[in-house]
């Protein structure tokens, strides 16, 4: 008997079920999705990020967004993803920004040297101050992970009220990507004497620019 | 009967309803608990005093012994069942069973149906009994519906929330309301009133160092309040705390809620 067959057999015996037996009906999933205006969502998002030590910027235009990012990165090396929003805001044209990576190894090398990782975000979650990033040809995973500072641009129309709304909108994340990551503030730990330290392995600084 | 009971009871009209409800004086059966019976009889005396003062008659079924909790908690279910059956027999006809202990009340009201899961007749008895079991403070507030028992005690006290009472019977605000009506009494909350005192029945003697460590943490918190007494609803907790206070040489008393309310 394979391990698989043995384990399944033991499970069935433990439960008094037979192979192929339909499951009992599952309790329906539970959501709580409040009604919130876009302004209220932005306010909540920024408030939560603030508590987490994240930085925020409400950009009234693509130009404003570009200016904010330019002000941050100066001439320091940065890697930007291939997100269309970044192109629209002219981020990829900024002097020290490298983007357009399609090769994994080259991307990794660039990220390892970069001071800033600039990405878009597929959604943001207002009640927890989170960003939602799907891995795709437009968004590589390491950009929001390796460089010590992460800058994310997110369209205001993509701010959901929270995880409940996200999962209600996206019931099967697997259909969209092999990786969906919720990023809630800068990397942190309190493993030594319960003292909070930011920037352990992931970015210690995070900027969310709502466009 | 009616008149003197009414005069003694604050609440006038409520008293009348009660008097009409019962054709004679309302009566409560006291389950004094083995620990109070043998080690702290004054708590039982105080409880009777309070109930009589508010116009209740108290009877004491003489054959009572124990609720069975020590055996149950130590994993001896058959022994616990034997003792529980005796309890069920003794209190079969009691209308209200008043208990000066959250853990004993919880044992009877919560665990008896578990004990007799496989014995339908005793299960039935246990179920019938459940709604009639009242921890003392709950009895005062929810059955007798009295908050002011006319007590007076000039003292600064702090209150220990016994675990079973708190988490199984929801006893938290009740005793505080009752204490709030005691003339001259000042209640100062300790910062960890809900932390276990470390008694836990046989735990106290099976793991004495851990139990001792737990009660000493409690003691530190009590001392920080500056109170002259610790009040609680469970004699076993009070025994644990009192024993530790005494060992530490701290001049702080322990008092059961009943003893506070009995003071005039």
């Amino acid at each position: 008997m394979t391990e698989r067959a043995m384990i399944l057999d033991q499970v069935r015996r433990a439960l008094g079920r037979t192979a192929g037996q339909a499951p009992a009906p599952a309790p329906p999933p539970r959501f709580r999705i409040p009604e919130l205006s876009v302004e209220a969502r932005i306010e909540s998002l920024f408030c939560q990020l603030d508590k987490l030590g994240g930085k925020t910027c409400l950009a009234g235009s693509a130009a404003e967004a570009r200016e904010y990012v330019a002000g941050l990165i100066g001439t320091k090396p940065a890697v930007a993803s291939n997100a269309s929003l970044l192109k629209e805001c002219g981020i990829c044209e900024l002097g020290s920004v490298q983007s357009g990576f399609t090769d994994r190894d080259k991307l990794r090398a660039a990220c390892a040297e970069a001071e800033f990782g600039i990405t878009g975000a597929d959604w943001a979650l207002a009640d927890t101050g989170s960003l939602v990033l799907l891995s795709s040809p437009a968004e590589a995973r390491l950009i929001s992970l390796l460089p010590p500072v992460h800058i994310a641009l997110v369209p205001r129309s993509r701010i959901l009220t929270g995880l409940d709304e996200l999962l209600s909108t996206v019931p099967r994340p697997a259909e969209l990507s092999s990786s969906m990551v919720l990023i809630t503030g800068p990397s942190r730990t309190a493993d030594i004497e319960q003292i909070l330290v930011r920037g352990v392995h992931g970015p210690g600084e995070i900027h969310v620019v709502v466009v | 009967m009616g008149d003197s009971a009414l005069r003694r009871r604050p609440g006038g009209l409520i008293g009348l309803e009660r008097a009409v409800e019962f054709k004679f004086m309302p009566r409560a059966s006291l389950f004094v608990t083995c620990i109070v019976d043998q080690l702290f009889p004054d708590i039982g005396v105080a409880l009777v005093e309070v109930l009589e003062r508010i116009g209740w008659e108290v009877d004491f079924p003489a054959d009572q012994t124990c609720c069975g909790q020590p055996a149950f908690n130590t994993g001896y279910r058959d022994e616990a069942r034997g003792v529980a059956r005796h309890f069920l027999k003794v209190f079969r006809d009691a209308e209200y069973i008043v208990v000066p202990s959250g853990s004993c009340a919880a044992m009877i009201a919560r665990r008896y149906s578990e004990l007799f899961e496989h014995e339908p007749e005793w299960l039935e008895e246990a179920r019938r009994l459940e709604p009639r079991v009242w921890e003392f403070s709950k009895f005062l507030l929810e059955v007798a519906r009295v908050e002011d028992v006319g007590a007076r005690l000039e003292k600064v006290v702090t209150f220990h929330d016994s675990c079973h009472g708190l988490r199984e019977l929801g006893i938290k605000e009740g005793p505080r309301r009752l204490l709030g009506r005691v003339r001259g009494l000042e209640l100062r909350e300790m910062d960890i009133s809900e932390e276990c005192c470390g008694f836990g029945g046989t735990f106290a003697v099976k793991f004495p160092e851990i139990s001792g460590g737990m009660v000493r943490t409690k003691l530190d918190s009590i001392l920080r309040t500056g109170a002259g007494a610790v009040v609680g609803i469970d004699a076993s907790c009070l025994m644990q705390i009192r024993g530790a206070l005494s060992r530490a040489g701290a001049p702080i008393e322990t008092m059961h809620l009943a003893q506070v309310l009995a003071r005039r």
């Binding site: 390491l142 | 022994e79 735990f203």
Partner: protein
């Protein structure tokens, strides 16, 4: 005569610094939790707990179905699902993979399941010890210790301990500032992440309807472990299943809050298969190991299978007055606190460490905070009865059993009970007197144990029932 466990416990209780560390760390975690589950912040806490309990109950009762569904969906996304009956099977598999891939370096993120099967030790024996990347786990790996707490593995270590470890094992200059120590770890581990051939993780949840592995963390080491190396292996107990991604709305809302007081941990990863064709980075291969290791045995116990609902938040530890005194290393297995006290006998047998289910005052603080409403006190009570039954069969603990039989008999005979009660003053007056002078074998009884920590109450003149009888007689009743 103290057993080894008793001596260890005594040593922990006597260590003032350690007591302080355990108490304040758990107090902080508990207080953070309180802040985010308060009624004004999370008004639907009770509903969430009820729903979580219901979903876990349903999932486990139909586990075979969900395991198969998970396997089908994960496989459809390109993952390879491996079934392992026990730790040895996992090690076999991993060792085989290491060999196949010519892997020289394995990085690993925090996983209690891997601790349970001593994965690091077993792989070390085969020549490739994985490097722990969670800061707390990294520290205790250097110290060759087991985790002290389900969520905070190095809770018992001071910055000075860490400084010593880093100097001795990493060859760096002594550094006592915590922020700088973290930067050292970051630097050392980054090299490993980027050079590793295989990344091993656990799994917080396995989602049946998507074949998704869900992982939560604060540091970013899980993301790096599961992204940088070309091969990712996720090891999960079969109880980690949940039916739908949508159910995570409830579980994720409870997990962070209960464990550390965070509405969400910093990173929550939903991994469904290895990287897709068009994606730029991510692992080329994903193996998901479904581990039994006794879970099917727990599943067979209707009453006690609820311990499998556990989502490993650590809240019960933070609120347990016993854990807060004895700390994680006094529990005999890798799982500590109330959940550890329950599942250790379930997995390893009740006679393995028969004292464990009794090391609790049954205060129920754990049950009050458990996000999935496991009735831990009830399980402890059930286990106590089982321990006694097992010991009766083995002919052990005779004295105590006899004592309770006699006690129960006495309690059923009121007149005899009363007579026995007359002995009370004699016992209580024992105090430090005659009890202290008892010879050796009798010196370890309950009275002695009591007296080691506190005084006995004074003897009352009469029992309550005698007072009552006298009063009734006086009233002519």
């Amino acid at each position: 005569m103290a057993t080894e466990s008793e001596l260890k416990i005594a040593a922990t209780l006597a260590d003032g610094r350690l007591q302080e560390a355990i108490y304040t760390a758990t107090a902080r975690l508990a207080s953070h939790r309180r802040a985010v589950v308060a009624t004004d912040v999370l008004p639907d806490l009770e509903e969430l707990r009820t729903q979580a309990n219901l979903v876990k109950n349903h999932t486990l009762e139909n586990l075979d179905h969900y395991l198969e569904q998970f396997e089908a969906n994960a496989t459809a996304r390109g993952a390879r699902v491996v079934w392992a009956r026990d730790g040895a099977a996992v090690v076999e598999f991993l060792a085989g993979l290491v060999s196949e891939k010519n892997a020289r370096l394995i990085v690993k993120s925090k996983s209690m399941t891997t601790e349970e099967i001593d994965l690091n030790e077993r792989l070390a024996e085969r020549g490739t010890e994985p490097v722990e990347t969670d800061l707390g786990e990294f520290i205790i790996q250097l110290a060759h210790e087991r985790p002290y707490h389900i969520v905070a593995p190095a809770l018992h270590k001071t910055r000075y301990d860490v400084a010593d470890l880093f100097t001795a094992r990493l060859g760096v200059e002594r550094e006592i500032e915590i922020e700088k120590q973290t930067k050292i770890a970051r630097r050392v581990l980054r090299e490993k992440f980027l050079a590793a051939d295989i990344g091993v993780s656990g799994a917080n949840f396995l989602v049946a309807d998507s074949g998704t592995v869900v992982l939560v963390e604060n540091e970013g080491n899980i993301r790096l472990t599961t992204t940088a190396p070309k091969v990712h292996v996720a090891i999960a107990g079969i109880e980690k299943l949940v039916p739908r991604a949508q159910d995570l709305a409830v579980f994720l809302r409870l997990l962070g809050r209960s464990g550390t007081g965070q509405p969400l941990t910093v990173y929550t990863s939903f991994l469904s298969g290895p990287r897709r064709e068009s994606e730029i980075d991510g692992p080329d291969e994903l193996y998901i190991v479904l581990l039994d290791n006794g879970r099917t045995r727990l599943l067979a116990d209707r009453e006690k299978r609820q311990s499998l609902y556990c989502i490993r938040c650590g809240a019960c530890l933070n609120h347990c007055p016993v854990y807060r005194k004895i700390g994680g290393h006094n529990y005999p297995w890798v799982y500590s606190g109330p959940i550890g006290a329950v599942i250790t006998p379930q997995y390893l047998g009740v006679t393995h460490q028969p004292w464990l289910p009794f090391a609790s005052s049954l205060c129920s603080a754990c049950a009050e905070v458990c996000p999935v409403k496991i009735d831990l006190p009830k399980l402890l009570l059930d286990l106590r009865a089982e321990v006694n039954q097992a010991q009766a069969r083995q002919g052990r603990n005779r004295l105590e059993r006899l004592a309770f039989k006699m006690w129960a008999w006495l309690m059923r005979h009121p007149r005899l009970y009363e007579m026995a009660g007359l002995m009370m003053p004699v016992v209580l007056s024992g105090g430090h007197g005659w009890i202290a002078r008892l010879p050796g074998p009798l010196n370890v009884g309950p009275a002695r144990a009591w007296l080691s920590q506190r005084d006995l109450p004074p003897a009352p003149a009469r029992s309550f029932r005698r007072i009552w009888r006298a009063r009734q007689e006086a009233r002519g009743n």
